[in-house]
Amino acid sequence: MSETLIPNLQKEKIIEYLSEGKRLDGRRVEDYRDIEVEMGISKNAESSVRVKIGKTEVLAGVKLGIAVPYPDSPDEGTLMTSAELHPLSSQEFEIGKPGIDSIEIARVIDRGIRESGLIDVKKLCIKEGEKVWQVFLDIFTINDDGNLLDVAGLAGLIAIGNAKIPIYNEKEGKIDYETPAKDHLPINEDVASFNMTFHKIGNSIVADVSKEEEAISDYRLSIAMGDNKGEPRITAMQKGKSGAISAEDMENILKLAEDKWKELFPKIKKYAFGK
């Protein structure tokens, strides 16, 4: 992947604006762009969704298959998450084996789902030690205008939250994709979380960065937050890029994350679980 090049003039302009609490697109530093969600992108998927935050657009789909369980967890279903940062979505992405950016996105999302226990994997066991459901979460980028990680994470959560389990024909040992599925994937809604990424640019902490802002930031901090009886609870974190976080900035980021979480999480839960 080649780097996005931002002219110095534009960089200075972005930082100058931010020092006054403004952004080039008119948002305040803490503002997210509009979130748009459309379900049912592929009728052949167990669930599929298009998520747009501003002009950044991602598709996510869930497919279920049958697999042999891992020896250390013979009664648990498995999860596999992949993310394609496809060259159709950005000038900077190249075709070929997954680069570090798509590996990072896939792993951060996979961990967020796996470690939180969002999917009740024990309920995905068909025959202990022999057959379990395998959940595939595939993420595909359509347009990169910054903050792919949050958009991909949200798409992943909504796809998992809406997925249904197809009928398994035990006699033939085959999945019947034709009969409409009724059962939802077993989910622990209580542990669902929303991933928010904040970037340090100049002296400012900025939410939901544009592509240009993303390219010039010193570091980013992603925080996945869920709900613990009405209070935000952090379920995952990831720091990226080479800048370091001061104690003061850490305070500010956490404060901002809590505020954003209170604003956005109810809406996101509705998208993911219909309530």
Binding site: I41, S42, N44, P87, S89, Q91, D138, F140, I142, D144
Partner: protein, 244 residues
């Protein structure tokens, strides 16, 4: 038509034999691209994105006489019931190449030496005929990107189900019909002005007169598809003009 009665007298979804599934086309679906379009036929959805002309790397692949067209076709993992592993496979590599040949027959990149024009075709949802839907989307996206083209191309899958000629096969007709002579699948690309065949593949069993008839059917249907493509481009022109 053949003397013997065909086993396929009524289409699975009730269409007439020469009737295409409902088509929609949309231009400008990926804002960061130079050109983009979606093309849907019934349950098959294709998107195409054009990036370029841009400098081709590595340098030794450059051609000082002309720009190069590069097409990459792929199906999204969740586009079919049995998940497809992400990334290229033998099928997608072949379809990429035949689509590239088809589009190359009308694209002229001689004004852009040492560059590449990338066309990315992706299928979010598949119900047979994905390569022709992809080529239809790609042709629109190339025009949207302002790439010099001698003429447009339109694509359609025609075929023979037992002894009956049909256009725009769906998944049942393409893969699940095995009675009598079975299913013959013929993707065809027709150029808009000179009415030449820019892509032709065939899989099945068919007589020479039947093939000729099938190609005529394809030509006729491509006229319809061309209208949809041109309409989408004109609408995009109008709305993009408004924004400015």
């Amino acid at each position: 038509m053949a003397k013997e009665k065909s086993l396929y007298l009524k289409r699975n979804d009730g269409r007439k034999f020469d009737e295409v599934r409902p088509i929609t086309a949309k231009v400008g679906i990926v804002p960061s691209a130079d050109g983009s379009a979606s093309f849907e036929t019934g349950g098959t959805k294709a998107i195409a994105v054009v990036r370029g002309p841009r400098t081709l790397h590595p340098q030794h692949k450059q051609d000082p006489r002309t720009g190069i067209l590069r097409v990459s076709y792929g199906m999204m993992p969740f586009s079919v019931t049995d998940r497809i592993r992400p990334g290229p496979n033998r099928r997608s590599e072949e379809i990429s190449k035949v689509s590239e040949w088809a589009l190359n027959s009308v694209v002229d990149l001689s004004e852009f030496p040492n560059t590449v024009v990338d066309v990315f075709i992706q299928i979010p949802q598949a119900d047979a005929g994905t390569r022709v839907a992809g080529i239809n989307a790609a042709a629109i996206a190339l025009a949207h990107a302002g790439i010099p083209m001698k003429e447009m191309v339109s694509a359609i899958g025609v075929g023979k189900i037992d002894k009956t000629l049909v256009v725009d096969l769906d998944k049942y007709e393409d893969s699940d019909f095995h009675d009598g002579e079975g299913s013959t699948d013929i993707p065809v690309v027709i150029t808009s002005r000179t009415k030449k065949i820019a892509l032709l593949q065939l899989d099945g069993k068919i007589s020479v007169p039947e093939l000729k008839e099938a190609i005529e059917l394809a030509k006729k249907t491509c006229e319809e598809i061309l209208k949809v493509q041109m309409k989408a481009l004109k609408e995009a022109n109008r709305s993009e003009g408004k924004k400015k």
